[in-house]
Each structure stands twice: as structure tokens, then as C-alpha cells.
Symmetry: D2
């Protein structure tokens, strides 16, 4: 299936860890739709080596970058522009990391040093990426940036822990930077708030399986898959959505506007 | 420009009055993207005759229907399914009418008989359309329904008058029916909250020009045009957005999440 | 317990059916806080006779009014102002009725005649009350109007049926009229979105018990009771909340911003 | 004016800098309503000496604490509990600081070291305060915590700069910690989103005067004053609002749900 929706477009995809990653699937779909890509991830993630398979499949160079290191980001954009021989049309930010979650710290007893890293890597990294592009004028007019987020930014899901706060911060950065980039260069910036997805990263969250099954029961269309999300991102990178900006777009089978379903009520009555 | 995004899809477009209409532009774009169409509008609107130009351009039959008449709606779906020789894949609801606005009644002195008509035509008509399709099982699995709305459903724009309440009702019907249709048949239903647009209908609103210019100054990307909206609707009718349902999607150049712009502040300081 | 928060204030309470009613409890608390009251309800509800007990307890006249009858409303305000020998300081709108719910009609098969009555009685009645007061200049400067609503206006709870749409309309009327009344007379208008409450009216909703128990498990503080709601309304009628207007205020033990609780997850895993 | 709404309650007030501060006014009103207080602020703010006037007026000790220093916070709660001879019933968090704003850095060129301080002092400080209380079990059952915030957390006001992101983070911490504290101890945590207010801190924001006048014109009731905010906080600390938690409560004269006013449209047409 290809519509050539992204024909001639150049994009940077952050965060493809392995074939379960939404970023991985989005890279594949963007490539099918005619885009030319650069893949980036943290040096530590690159060492796993999986990304090379993807790089081959989508004919893209892999350029490592620590998203909290401004020199790395600058180099990434420089090399990308050289590779594309042009500016960048779209960016996918699929980046999140919480040492407090990894170490099993309860929200009420988080380590504040870890928390600072969580906020920097998972949220302020979007500011860092955009600001690097801004300084270099690296994103083309009518470019599109999408960052992946989760509904815990709006409502509490206890096991999501401090990542909820990080996602709220990420969504605010999206709006704030979105304003400036729209005014200056017609660049749009949005978040996609995706159903819980069985990725390698997602599985690290405590109680994830119970939660994914609850979300499935609570979504009139069921949970959106990673493939679905990739398709949706393609529309957001295309020229057909140019006037959508500073939005948080729920891509979740209806979960976000469902108070309760018949299925959940029945389960509760057991 | 065509991506064949809607190749093989069949859709009903309500509300194309003349070439300024968003529904008109959406019909053109859907046709370009490969869809087969039926056009519908109120008998009184059809009498203007403009729609025949569109019908010719998109090779579609015109089937009149009063959206508050259940027999009309049943006939519309029957004839459409006969024409398509299949069920319907998408529906655009671009319908609104307020006698109170037309007659220049202030919000605090509306006629309640007129108001009842406003709510019925502008909001409950969506329920009537969906319920007709539901009873006839007329929409195909993974079908997509979009209704056009306006941000006055969330925040007060005084001149928008009782249409604000009608749009709030429309958005609620979208969620309510969206739940049931998703559970039963994977059909998704969303509203698009569009920038103020210079249509023949829109121009009827008092103070419209002042308002459209305010919205332009208040939108980081500027106001979204009817053509932009048509493009966006195409993505929502396509297979790439299957898991988006029960949402109100702002298509407004960033207006909805902008508190104030530099341009507005400067104008205020004059 | 009395703080004299409403000392010297005059209020009209709509919708006290019996001692389980939130309006009943609010009347009692307003009286304790020093307010002078008029009680109103539909003629058919008055015939039950229960309200006379309340009238005695709070030393208030009972004035019947069909809220969709403008003459009734005019008479109500006239008699109230005569009784108070002054304008009105606050109004509680606790009114809702759905024949479709009563008759067990599924949302996808509602009777549109009944629906029109539901919208008129449950939502547009607020406009009718406010407009009557507006025309007569019956509400004092810095007056406060509260209407009771439910979160189904924002998210789908299938059994709540068409009342969800009615509440969405009610909340929009609150904003729309709230704007005008604030500008003209500093009157504020808000909705309180209350936990599901075991009232005689609420019990009519299908699956109510299952739902109230779900809401209890889903609210970090548990469901708010009718007494709690009465207390909250007292603060909104007092002089301490003068600048709060056009808001929908959740009074629900945290339900509205909770995505899931540990208790619900555990129940789901059974 | 006193209703004894807070009779017998003990509260800690953070952030009273001088008599223009909302925290200052809230302390005065809480004292009038019968509360016993402890005042706290950063050591550097205390050195100004103004707070001693307030301390005298409300008969409260001043206990300095750097809100990002866990030892300081622990000592503050220990000394407060000793002073009260009991646990704490309410807390006001009125704390915000941005070096990037002070130094006039544009949002697109913020210093990330400064930004980390902004987030820590303006948002994570609420987590630190709550977590200190949580570890010491310092807040009584049904206690109430209020943090002041601003609507820039939801919509972009360009001059508010990185403080918008900090407030979004603050509001998320409110929800996240609010969940846990409700479940464990019935403690409620909310933010109040206040109109722009002429405080010494607020005045530091670039373009503040232009903005405050815009907000005045855009608010149907006008801007809420610091005194109004103090009154509102009193209701939130009282026993009448026990079931309100995890909410962001707009206290802004209707600004948040107003899309445009007649006054603004007229100004725009000049």
C-alpha cells in the first residue's frame, strides 16, 4: 500500500529501537510513502545494533545523537541536511526514559536527580531538537513535527509515574515552540497521544499488561496499534494537514472520550 | 494533485451550497482522490441550482433530503446504496441553520421555536443521519463520518449566538453515537473545528468580517481555508486514520491553543 | 454548622423533589447559612407533596413553575421578588428529564419528539430562566447561578443516553448566557459536575447501581455525596467566589482527572 | 468580614514576598477566617524583610526554606507541627521563578541550565513539599493544598515564556500527587489559575502591562484581583469543598471560556 503521500519529503526519525517501536514502524511507512529518511537514536541504543536492519530497509543513514547534547543535535542536523541536500520536512520525536520507573521507585518517592533526567530526555529534548533546527534554519517551510505522548498527561494512571509529568511538559513545549515556529516559518508541531502499545520501552512500565487489557476494553474501537500510529503520522507529515498545529491529537480508538464501556461495567460487576 | 487516497470509496456529502462551501471543496477533493460521491442538500438549497455544476464536475447524482425528515434520509441512503451498488464509506455533515441569527435576534432574546429548529437542523440532524444509516446498516465497516463545527462550542464568541449551543450539542452527539457505531461496526465519527471561513452561510453571522480578521491575527499559521479543510477531511476519510474517533479536531492554524499573539497585543496597544 | 456565608442573600432553588434530591439538601444548607429561599418545581412534582416538608423546614414559599413555560417563569420571579422584597442573589438549577430514558429507548433509537422535550426541559430551561430574570432585571449585581450537570457531557457513559447531549447543551448555555450576564450585571453562571448520586431521578437511569459503584472505585476520594454538593454550592453562592464564571466545576472526588485506579485495575484482573 | 470558615485550621503559606503578593493577601484572609499560620519563603526573599510585617499582622512565625532543599522542607514541617502542636490542614504554594525570563531570553534561546532551575523551583517544588509532608505524615486527613498557576499552561501567551511549561508541569504534579494523597489520606490538591495580577513577581514578565489590559478587556467580569483570589483560596481550604481534587480551577472573571469579547473586537477594528 502506497499513496506517495510523502514523495520528495525528507524526514528525521528519532527513537527506533527495535521492530516493535512505533518509530520503527513509522520509518517503514514513511519510506513506503516516498520519503527519504535519516534515523537517529541515543548512542547506547545504537549499540544494540537492531537499527541497522531498519536502516537497510529504508535506505537511510543512522546518525547517533544524545538528545540532551546540543553539539550532537547540531551535528545530526548538519549531516542530515548534507545527506538530503536540502532542509528537513518532518521530524518524529519518539523519545522517553525514566530511571525512576526503571528502578521501580513509587511516584511519592522518586529520586529528584533521576527526575531531572527524565524531564530533560523525555520532554525538554523536544525543545532542544527544535531549537537546534531553529538556529540552523533546518526545517523547510510547512514542515511538520510530531512527538509521541500519552493520555497520562491529562489524567492519572498511577503506574505511569513521573512519565505523566514529563508528557505534560512535552505537550506544553509542543504548544510553546509550535507558536513561534508557525509564526516564523509555517512549521507545525503536534503531539499524538497513542494507545498503550506493546513496545520494548512500554513493557518496562509496571502493571503494563493489566493496563493494556483495560485500555482495550475501554476503547470502543480497541487499542490503536503501532502500525495504525505509523499511518496516522504519515497523514500528519503530508501536505494534507498543513493547518493543524499546537494540538494534542488522540489516536486511541476512542479511549480518551469514553467514560466507561459496557464491557468494563460487566467486568466490574463480576 | 492526487494520491488516490480514497480510491474505491463511496461517500455522501451534505451541504454543498455553492463554490464557496467547504462541502463543495471537499467533494472536489474527494473526487480527485478517487472517491465516488452522492451529493445531498435541503430541497430549498437545491432550488438554487448551483449544485448541478458540482454534480457534473464530480460525476455524482444529487439527492435532495430534508435532514430532519426521516423518510427523506431513508430514501437518500437507499438511493445512494443503489447508486454505489454497495454500502457507504464516508459521510460529510456540513449543515447548520439558525433563524434567530438570520433575523438578528440577540442571544438573550432568541425565539424558542426558532431555537428548536436550530438544534434540530444543526445538531440532531447528525443523529438522524447516523440513525438512518444504523437502521439500514448502510455504512461499511471502518467507515468514517465527519461533521463540521466551530470553537464557539467551547468558548464564547458573542456574535455566534445560539449556533454555539447547537455546535456543542453536535459535538456531544458525535461522541455519543461515535461510541455505539465504533462498538458495533468499527465506524468512526469526528468533528472538525474549522477556522472561520468566508462561505455564503458564514457571512450571515453579524460582525463576521471583523471576526475573521481577528482570527487571522490570532492564528500562528493564519486561518485555515476551505481548501485546507477539504484536504484534512480527505485524510479523515482515508484508511490512514482508522483509530481516530469521538474527537473534536481543531483545524485552525493554531488558534485554539493560542492565548494571544504578538500581533493582537500590538493592535490592542494602538 | 453554620458560617453565615449567605446571610442576607435571597435564592431560588429549582428541583427539590424529595429528601434525596441535591436541591433539597442545598436548600437546607443555604437556609442554615442564612439565606432566604423560594422553592420551585414542576406542577407535577409538587403534587407529590413532599416539598412541603422542606418548605416548612426552610421557611420558604413553594411556587410552581413549568420551566418551559415563560409565563410561569415570569410569575415565579415576580412572586419571588415580592416575597424577598428585593432582587434575587442566587439560583440553583437542578432540572433534568428524559422520556427516552424513562421508556428505556436505546440511544440509537430515541424518539425525536421526546428528545426535543429532553433538550428543552433539561437544558434550554436554563436559558428560559435566565432570560426571564434578564428581562425583568431580577438578579442582583454579583448574583450567582449554578446548574447541576454530569461528566457524560464530556465523555460517553452509554447508559446516560441522550441526557449526555442535554448536559452538553446545558453547559454551553451556561457559557453563552454567562458571558452576557457578566458583562451586563456582574452575574456569574457555572455548572457543577457532580458524582453520580442516589437520587430518585438518578435511580431511573439503567445500570445505575453498577455505575455508581464503578465511579466510587474510580474516584480517589470516593463519590461526592449530595450533602457534599450542597456545601460546594454554598461556596459558589457566597461572596467568596465572585470571579468564577462560565466554568464547569467538577465535584467528584477526583473522578474526572483519574484515568484508572489501582482498585479498578485489580477488579479488571479478576 | 469574617465567617470563621477556617476556625481551628492550621496552614502553611509559601511565597508572600510583599503586600502585593497573592500569598500575602491569602495569609491575611486566612487569618481573618480563624486560621493559625506559618509563613515560609526562600531565604533570599526573607532578607527583604517585608514579610515580618505580615508575620506580625497574622501572628505567625516565619520559617525560611529553599523549596528545592529537602532538609529545609523537613525542618519547616517539623517546626510548623511543633508550633501548631498538630498536623497541617492546608498549604498554599505560590512559588515561581525563571532566570530565563529575568534575563530576557527569548523562548527559542533559553539557557537549559536556567530552565532546569525554573522547572525545579516553580513546579517540582510542589512535589518536594508534598513528598516531605507525605513522608512525615504531616498533613491532616481532609487537608487541602492549593498551588497558583496560569492559563499559559493550556494556551500560548508568548511573553510568558518557559513559565508556561513550568506551570503545565506544576498542574500535572498536582494531579499525580493528588491521586496518591487522596487515596491514602483524603488530602485534596488543586491549582487555581488566576487572572494576571500586578504582583512584584508578575511585573517582571515582559509586556506585562499590555497583557493585563488585554486580559481585562477579554474577561466578562474583568480581571480577578489578588483579594478575590485570597477569598477563593479560603473556600478551597474550608470544609465546604472537600470533594474537589486534582482540578485546575480557573479564577479569572470568565477569561478562560471567552473566545472574544465585544470590547476586543471593537479595539481590533480600530
Amino acid at each position: 500500500m502506497s499513496y506517495n503521500l510523502l514523495k520528495g519529503k525528507k524526514g528525521i526519525i528519532f527513537g527506533a529501537l527495535d521492530e516493535k517501536s512505533i518509530a520503527w514502524k513509522t520509518a517503514l511507512r514513511c519510506y513506503e510513502e516516498g520519503a527519504q529518511l535519516v534515523l537517529s537514536n541515543a548512542p547506547v541504543a545504537l549499540r544494540m545494533g537492531e537499527i541497522n536492519k531498519l536502516a537497510e530497509a529504508v535506505q537511510a543513514p543512522v546518525i547517533g545523537a544524545d538528545v540532551v547534547n546540543m553539539d550532537d543535535l547540531k551535528r545530526l542536523f548538519e549531516e542530515s541536511m548534507k545527506h538530503f541536500n536540502s532542509g528537513v520536512d518532518f521530524v518524529l520525536h519518539s523519545i522517553g526514559m525514566s530511571l525512576n520507573v526503571r528502578k521501580g521507585k513509587h511516584y511519592t518517592e522518586i529520586d529528584y536527580g533521576f527526575n531531572q533526567k527524565t524531564l530533560d530526555i523525555s520532554a525538554m529534548s523536544l525543545h532542544r531538537v527544535l531549537r537546534t533546527a531553529w538556529d540552523m534554519d533546518a526545517i523547510n517551510e510547512w514542515g511538520s513535527v510530531v512527538a509521541l505522548t500519552y493520555i497520562a498527561a491529562q489524567r492519572v494512571f498511577p503506574d505511569y509515574n513521573e512519565m505523566a509529568d514529563a508528557k505534560a511538559l512535552l505537550e506544553s513545549v509542543t504548544r510553546s515552540f509550535g507558536y513561534h515556529y508557525a509564526v516564523r516559518k509555517k512549521v507545525r508541531i503536534n503531539t499524538v497521544s497513542q494507545s498503550p502499545t506493546r513496545t520494548t520501552a512500554g513493557s518496562g512500565v509496571k502493571g503494563f499488561e493489566g493496563f493494556i487489557s483495560y485500555a482495550e476494553k475501554m476503547s470502543p474501537l480497541g487499542n490503536a496499534s503501532g502500525e495504525d500510529c505509523a499511518n496516522y503520522c504519515v497523514t500528519l507529515f503530508s501536505d494534507l494537514t498543513r493547518m493543524v498545529t499546537m494540538q494534542n491529537l488522540f489516536h486511541d480508538g476512542g479511549f480518551s472520550f469514553t467514560g466507561v464501556t459496557q464491557t468494563v461495567i460487566e467486568q466490574m460487576e463480576k
